[in-house]
Symmetry: C2
Subunit: 109 residues, 2 copies
DNA sequence: ACTGGTAGCTAGTAACACTGAGTAGTGGAG
DNA sequence: CTCCACTACTCAGTGTTACTAGCTACCAGT
């Protein structure tokens, strides 16, 4: 993946995953394939799992273990209240940055 | 500054500075105050200088030393051809990410 | 002499995504 | 029955980045 993209994902990937989790609980493998399907560049599996561990430790999601028809049991992540709050903040931060960037792009001849 | 913003700036701050440099050469101190004036959160001076060193080593800018009326000589940075190319790539990456995020925001019920 | 504004620089730290590997469980093809 | 593909998760190590918290240095005004 491009180095630029890699760096730009820092700080946004977490928000992306939280956004994906909004309304529909999901497990790691599912999220990874979902992101790839939605056009996101090749997200490494390891990256997603590490991120999930992080947001779990931050208490942004609830975790439930469910048996799978295929393979080992899944860890299903559900966005909780604190996670929603974090997601709101994420959108605020994103909007701010996005607006500034758009201004720069216009002004930058 | 917010931790979220800090992480989100990773990868974008370089593009921001390159964009600022488009059309008008500037020196470090100037860029710092400019960014702050343009509404960007408290960018640390040290951050800007470190970034300038980086883009200089990458060969994205030309540097010229000019005496200042006030204080030590200024290092004026000018965007060169390679820098413009990098900036174009930055906008591409940014656009891609931005579109995906907007979709997520809408779809995110 | 001293303060404040200008201008640049540096070492150390924390956070994050990636790489590349590994461990398991299940079901189907041969 | 064995091998392989898919599912699902885990982990150690790496590179990049922005921040913190300082420092040096020059000049003008008080």
């Amino acid at each position: 993946m491009g180095k630029q993209m890699t760096e730009m994902l820092k700080g946004t990937l977490e928000g992306i995953v939280l956004a994906v989790l909004t309304g529909n609980p999901a497990y790691g493998y599912e999220i990874t394939t979902l992101l790839r399907a939605q056009g996101f560049p090749d997200i490494a599996e390891g990256t997603v799992y590490a991120l999930l561990v992080r947001i779990e430790q931050k208490g942004l999601v609830d975790v439930e273990k469910r048996p799978s028809e295929k393979g080992p049991p899944r860890k299903v992540y559900t966005l909780n209240a604190q996670g929603k709050k974090e997601l709101d903040e994420f959108w605020n931060t994103w909007s701010f940055l996005s607006e500034r960037l758009e201004e720069l792009r216009k002004g930058g001849k």
